[in-house]
């Protein structure tokens, strides 16, 4: 009974990733693509957390923290480059 609800949540997250990928491909401007990338990254953080729960390893949360930090840094740098300040 536990695993069924976890798999339903994982299926919803996969639909979220597919929708973000569609917006990433056809977005008319750069900002759309960056936002789609950001949303997909946050969903990937939650997927990493669910995998850590399924396999009983707490070390994966450290991977999630480093991944989120790199994504945040990438968004800041791309926004600064769009403004022309870099």
């Amino acid at each position: 009974m536990n695993n069924i609800i976890i798999y339903i949540a994982l299926a919803l997250m996969m639909l979220t990733l597919i929708a973000g990928l569609i917006r990433f491909i056809k977005g008319p401007s750069i900002v759309d693509r960056v936002v789609a990338f950001d949303s997909m990254t946050i969903t990937s953080l939650v997927v990493i957390g669910v995998i850590a729960l399924l396999s009983n390893r707490a070390i994966y949360f450290d991977v999630a923290v480093v991944y989120g930090f790199l994504s945040f840094l990438g968004v800041i740098i791309v926004a600064k480059y769009i403004q022309g300040g870099l």
């Binding site: 536990n2 609800i5 976890i6 339903i8 949540a9 994982l10 919803l12 997250m13 639909l15 979220t16 929708a19 973000g20 569609i22 917006r23 401007s29 750069i30 900002v31 759309d32 960056v34 936002v35 789609a36 950001d38 949303s39 946050i42 969903t43 953080l45 939650v46 957390g49 669910v50 850590a52 729960l53 009983n56 707490a58 949360f61 450290d62 999630a64 923290v65 989120g68 930090f69 945040f72 968004v75 800041i76 926004a79 600064k80 769009i82 403004q83 022309g84 300040g85």
Partner: protein
């Protein structure tokens, strides 16, 4: 113990549903600014609720490996960094002069620039 697990399942499902609603808004909103707003705010809520659910479902492992500490650090990190990236992206879009949607009713920043209360944000 089982009640805590059931509560965690409810939180995880609500968080996943909130992430899904954020992606639907990312597909259907008419404007860049609306997409930034819905894609960042609802994603933050969904991620935080999902991590609370994961932390409640791992009730058997709270003693070992510092599960709760890592999850709390992750939640605080998401809560700090996500609105910052949203604001920076909005400012970059406004500097790029991406046009607003035709359904827009009011643009306070443009009014303030015309009244010379604020300066126009520009390249540095």
């Amino acid at each position: 113990m089982t009640y805590v697990k059931i509560l965690g399942e409810v939180f995880l499902l609500m968080g996943a549903f909130s992430l899904f609603v954020a992606s639907v808004g990312l597909l259907r909103m008419p404007d860049v600014y609306n997409r930034v707003q819905t894609g960042t705010k609802a994603s933050t809520l969904g991620a935080i609720m999902s991590f609370i659910g994961i932390g409640l479902m791992a009730v058997d492992h709270w003693d070992e490996n510092n599960w709760l500490g890592r999850i709390i650090v992750l939640i605080i990190f998401i809560l700090l960094t996500n609105p910052v990236s949203s604001h920076v992206l909005m400012r970059a879009a406004y500097v790029m002069k991406i046009p607003l949607s035709k359904l827009t009713v009011v643009d306070k920043l443009k009014e303030d620039i015309e009244l010379k209360v604020l300066e126009e944000p520009k390249d540095e």
